[in-house]
């Protein structure tokens, strides 16, 4: 066997330096990461990276900061597996491997000039935050913006400071609901679907962007269709088991589509007849 180095490999990894780690909730931490040598990640909202730790492996993590945030990017990670467990043990100053950005991201050019309704369930806010912050940073390019957020309980809520900022902004219509809460919770209690009927919108020019756990999509989409939002204006980001991140290894396949390459962002029209999608 002869050995050689491959200069251009889809599996090539860049060094990412952890600048800061913040505990968000009991299970989630937020990592600020900068690429080695000041390189920019140059991602689109909705894309993801593969994070590597040598000897442990890699895992797909969605980018939760907007590309308008320069100098570093943010990953919010729940401790659920081998790689994320090891990542949670890392500190500022440590180095991880970064491959990406990967995936298609949200169709920003298509969204510009239109009204936007963001629907985030649970951890869905993590990739969606990238787009929400991008929109807020380029606010005049978009029409009406509403953000609907749902999670299990107030203690699982992420990005507290930002949420209250969104709540205060006049150019954003923000509402939140939790499945259950202690008596001191003053907000809504109920499923995320309960927030949708109350939103006033111009269905012709509204794009809905939905991200949440797999069980959520069917119910939310039904509510959106009931509001007369056209199928072609409903976008969602799907979660699957990504390994190679470049549309080959097969793990993330949804029918004939690869979640990592053709997605993770899909238009409802593209997947509504795909038996494996929703």
């Amino acid at each position: 066997m002869d050995k050689r180095e491959i200069r251009k490999s889809p599996y090539d990894i860049k060094q990412g330096k952890i600048l800061d780690v913040k505990q968000m909730t009991e299970f989630e931490k937020s990592f600020k990461i900068a690429l080695h040598g000041g390189d920019l990640l140059d991602h689109d909202p909705g894309q993801f990276v593969m994070v590597s730790i040598p000897g442990i492996g890699d895992a797909p993590i969605s980018i939760s900061s907007s590309p308008t945030q320069r100098g570093y990017f943010e990953l919010v990670v729940r401790n659920v597996g081998k790689l994320t467990g090891a990542l949670h043990k890392m500190e500022a100053g440590d180095t991880v491997g970064i491959r990406g950005p990967l995936g298609n991201g949200f169709p920003i050019r298509l969204l510009e000039g239109n009204d936007l309704m963001f629907v985030a369930g649970g951890l869905g806010i993590v990739p969606l935050r990238s787009l929400i912050n991008y929109v807020n940073d380029n606010r005049r390019n978009f029409g009406k913006v509403s953000i609907l957020l749902g999670c299990k309980s107030p203690t699982e809520m992420l990005f507290h400071e930002e949420l209250s900022h969104w709540e205060e902004r006049l150019d954003v219509n923000f509402s939140v609901t939790v499945d259950s809460a202690a008596p001191d919770w003053r907000g809504n209690v109920g499923m995320i679907t309960s927030l949708i009927p109350g939103v006033t919108l111009d269905s012709k020019r509204t794009f809905a962007i939905v991200v949440g756990p797999p069980v959520m999509y069917k119910f939310v989409i039904n509510e959106l269709l009931a509001k007369n939002i056209p199928e072609s204006q409903i976008y969602m980001s799907l979660e699957r088991h990504m390994k190679c991140g470049v549309g080959v290894c097969g793990h993330c396949q949804i029918g004939d589509s690869y979640c990592c390459k053709d997605g993770p962002v899909f238009c409802y029209t593209k997947v509504k007849n795909n038996i494996e999608a929703l």
């Binding site: 000897g55 442990i56 081998k82 090891a86």
Partner: protein, 250 residues
């Protein structure tokens, strides 16, 4: 600081420890990472109860063994079972095919009352096990993999695939096609189909898959015209201990 590792044996043939002694050159790399403080098969020193990692060979077959393994567990930060006897009960489990008084009498005769004996159990039927190295004898490459995971503090679980998966990758001719009855389809992989590579059938020494797909297994027997008892008898050779209920021996 190197981890202090102690090897202990219970009811077994000590063949798994022999496998470790026979690792060869790679053993030097292993010893570079750990301090062996007790290993009856290769050294006379004792740990005196000072160890981080306990490596256990053998199944639990007496009340005394139950107490001893509990004590080891209370000291060890990490407990690894090696081989079929410790990991799933192994051949000692064949004892469980008989009523205990009957088998004691058969083995010890008149002196039966002097011997303490309980139905055979795997170590995890008594205490928590952190890592398993399966096989009879244990599969050495799996031991090295487990050791590396333990040293890095990472979890390790044998693949949830059947021996058939690895056997096919080794391009062995399927033994069912040769008219033999093989335990490959129900047995947990991770041994690189060691036995079949060397001309033997699989005896199921690594234990049963978590989900062996019962209806499919029956289909295999149908296709090859094999009675179910043949398979259960063969499989029980290593896997009888799993029938012992929790706390049955307490």
């Amino acid at each position: 600081m190197k981890a202090k590792v102690a090897f202990f044996d219970f009811a077994c043939c000590e063949g798994c420890q022999l496998q470790i002694a026979n690792i060869g050159e790679a053993l030097l790399d292993v010893l570079d990472k750990i301090d062996v403080v007790e290993f009856r098969e290769v050294m006379s020193e004792k740990s005196g109860g000072d160890y981080d990692v306990a490596v256990i060979e053998g199944s639990i077959t007496t009340k005394h063994a139950i107490e001893r393994i509990k004590e080891i567990r209370s000291i060890a930060k990490v407990l690894i079972t090696i081989g079929a006897c410790a990991s799933i009960g192994g051949v000692n489990g064949m004892k469980n095919n008989f009523e205990l008084p009957e088998i004691k009498k058969y083995v010890y005769g008149e002196d039966e009352k002097y011997f303490d004996s309980v139905p055979t159990m795997a170590v995890d039927q008594v205490v928590k096990v952190d890592y398993y190295v399966h096989g009879c004898p244990m599969y050495v490459p799996e031991f090295v993999t487990v050791l590396k995971h333990a040293l890095m503090g990472l979890p390790y679980k044998a693949p949830e695939k059947s021996v058939c998966t690895e056997c096919k990758l080794n391009e062995n001719e399927c033994l069912f096609d040769r008219g033999l009855t093989c335990m490959g389809p129900v047995t947990r992989a991770g041994c690189n189909s060691w036995c079949v590579n060397n001309g033997n059938i699989c005896y199921g020494c690594r234990g049963m898959l978590d989900d062996p797909a019962k209806t499919g297994q029956i289909e295999i027997l149908k296709k090859h015209d094999i009675p179910l008892e043949w398979v259960t008898n063969k499989f029980n050779m290593y896997n009888k201990a799993k029938d012992v209920k929790e706390n049955e021996n307490e």
